[in-house]
């Protein structure tokens, strides 16, 4: 696979929705320890709304798809993660405007733009114990492979490592920061859901590649 098409991007959101649905309890548990026990339901509500919206909406290009996703998340998630993830996809939409597919470079640019929006909005840096701690290494890891599926896989793995890396951190941003040192020892819920988004992306690419591979014999 060398590009992300409209269909694959739609599959990405479906897969993300499935993954979030499956991991509600885990996300909620993490948010119970250092937050307010709603992150699982916030994500579920958002991606369920996205699924329903996509079912009834024809999107002409990746820009309008990402815009629809971003707007839906903003208007259904609430909390901190709503504007952050919403803004992420709205920012990607700008890069993807009018495009039926994105090549690897464009994808990197779009994801990096999304990440920057989160950092700007949340005034968060790597090390603050937020979703930035998984998103930032994920975006960086895209460079580590030239092939798209491999890059997504590397990004997902980096996100996972980044999420786990939040455990020893003391939170400086978001709700967990109110706990001070007591936030240490817990994995950040938002960093965990960010990893799920990359995991969904990697798995969709993988499946497309396998299908394509079955058909064309190469990735």
């Amino acid at each position: 696979m060398t590009e992300l098409t409209l269909d694959q991007a739609r599959l990405w959101f479906a897969a993300a929705g499935d993954l979030v649905e499956r991991e509600i309890a885990r996300l909620t548990e993490l948010d119970t320890a250092i937050g307010d026990a709603d992150h699982g339901f916030n994500m579920q509500r958002g991606f369920y709304a996205v699924r329903k919206k996509l079912e009834v909406t024809v999107t002409e290009d990746l820009g309008s798809l990402f815009r629809l996703v971003g707007m839906t998340l903003v208007s259904t998630v609430g909390g901190a993660s709503g504007p952050l993830y919403g803004g992420f996809f709205l920012e990607m939409a700008k890069v993807a405007n009018g495009k039926a597919y994105l090549g690897k470079n464009e994808i990197c640019t779009a994801l990096a733009a999304g990440l920057n929006d989160i950092k700007r909005r949340g005034k968060a840096e790597v090390g603050d114990k937020t979703m930035v701690d998984s998103l930032s290494p994920a975006v960086a890891a895209l460079e580590s492979a030239t092939e798209l599926c491999a890059a997504f896989r590397a990004a997902a793995d980096a996100a996972k490592t980044g999420a786990e890396g939040t455990i020893p951190l003391e939170a400086r941003k978001g709700r967990a920061s109110y706990l001070g040192q007591r936030s240490i020892g817990h994995q950040d819920p938002g960093a965990t859901s960010s990893w799920l988004l990359f995991e969904a992306l990697a798995s969709v690419c993988q499946q497309a590649a396998e299908k394509g591979g079955a058909a064309a014999g190469s990735c």
């Binding site: 709503g82 978001g174 007591r182």
Partner: protein
């Protein structure tokens, strides 16, 4: 989890329907999206006061909609900030042409959602100002962190600004006054028990019979530290001292003392806390000239309390006494 609810996912909607049924003389409720506005909104020429935040803090905020307080409240899901569309629609519904004032508790989610809404409203030609509430002394204030939480002072700010808006204050007046009040009040809270988010179904933490959490917020989160449960007088001292030292409150000042229940603590206990808090304030040289005791900003069925101290001046005392006519706070009308 033992609660008087139907389905966990319907709690916010059904409670709003109940509010609509009980208070149709004061408020109008929208269910799509969720918000409540005072019945006579919009009021031409009056600044529209809009607040909101996660649900689970009842009576805040919907219980404070009405004459002399909020024009609109936007309840999110339990402990989840409302979304920008709620805020935008509520603000539009109470726009009387004199601008909109958002009263926002300093949580990342609340701040960002209100900010997005403010941008959209401004894009639509409506003037919006925002007053932030961040009165919780349990959290250190630092520009490297999310800063302090907005807790008990929110109720007082909504009452005082509501009165000022009713008296014809301009958007600029209210913004200035709001920032002044923000700088004049401090709070701190503690918990005897956790609470349970209905959809989660499990308590947010567990405490032994002889433990308490000090420095909690209003979202069922653990506090700054766990400590041995001590007497009401000692607990009160542990809350009052950081409050007094932080502003700091100085000898001779006049204050409003607000002892708030977190949800499951009965009034009889709150008065025991009030008793000691008033003694401490007076030993500190303060004159407590206004009081509020009860469950006004809660954290579902958490047991515990918070104390808020607000420095008063003549203007604020008058605004406090001014008529207010909401489901949860009523006097003078």
């Amino acid at each position: 989890m033992k609660k008087l609810i139907n389905a966990a996912e319907n709690v916010v909607r059904e409670a709003l329907e109940g509010m609509q049924a009980a208070h149709a003389d004061r408020i109008r409720v929208s269910l799509e999206p969720f918000y409540a506005v005072r019945r006579d909104a919009p009021i031409a020429g009056k600044v529209g006061l809009v607040s909101g935040g996660g649900s689970g803090h009842e009576p805040m905020h919907s219980g404070y909609v009405g004459r002399g307080m909020l024009d609109a409240a936007c309840p999110g899901e339990i402990f989840t900030s409302p979304t920008p569309d709620q805020i935008v629609e509520a603000s539009q519904a109470v726009n009387g042409g004199a601008g909109i004032l958002h009263i926002v508790k300093n949580y990342t989610g609340d701040m960002m959602n209100f900010e997005l809404a403010a941008e959209m409203l401004r894009a639509g030609g409506i003037a919006v100002e925002t007053v932030v509430v961040d009165d919780d002394v349990a959290v250190e204030d630092s520009r490297y962190t999310a800063g302090r939480r907005g807790v008990g002072l929110t109720v007082l700010i909504e009452k005082l600004l509501g009165a000022a808006a009713e008296e014809g204050g301009t958007l600029a007046d209210l913004k200035r006054l709001g920032d002044f009040i923000r700088a004049s009040g401090r709070s701190m809270g503690m918990a005897l028990t956790a609470c349970t988010v209905p959809q989660h179904g499990k308590p947010s933490f567990t405490l032994a019979d002889d433990e308490m959490e000090l420095g909690i917020g209003i979202h069922g989160e653990p506090g700054r530290r766990r400590a041995k449960l001590v007497s009401a007088d000692e607990v009160t001292t542990m809350l009052m001292e950081p409050i007094l030292a932080d502003l700091p409150f100085r000898k001779g000042e006049e204050v409003l003392l607000f002892v708030n229940g977190m949800g499951a603590t009965p009034l009889i206990e709150l008065y025991i806390v009030y008793r000691k808090a008033a003694q401490i304030a007076s030993l500190h040289g303060l004159r407590v000239i206004r009081s509020l005791v009860g469950t006004y900003i809660s954290s579902l069925e958490m047991a515990g309390c918070s104390i808020t101290l607000l420095r008063l001046n003549e203007q604020l005392s008058k605004l406090w006494d001014a008529p207010v006519d909401t489901p949860a706070l009523r006097w003078g009308v």
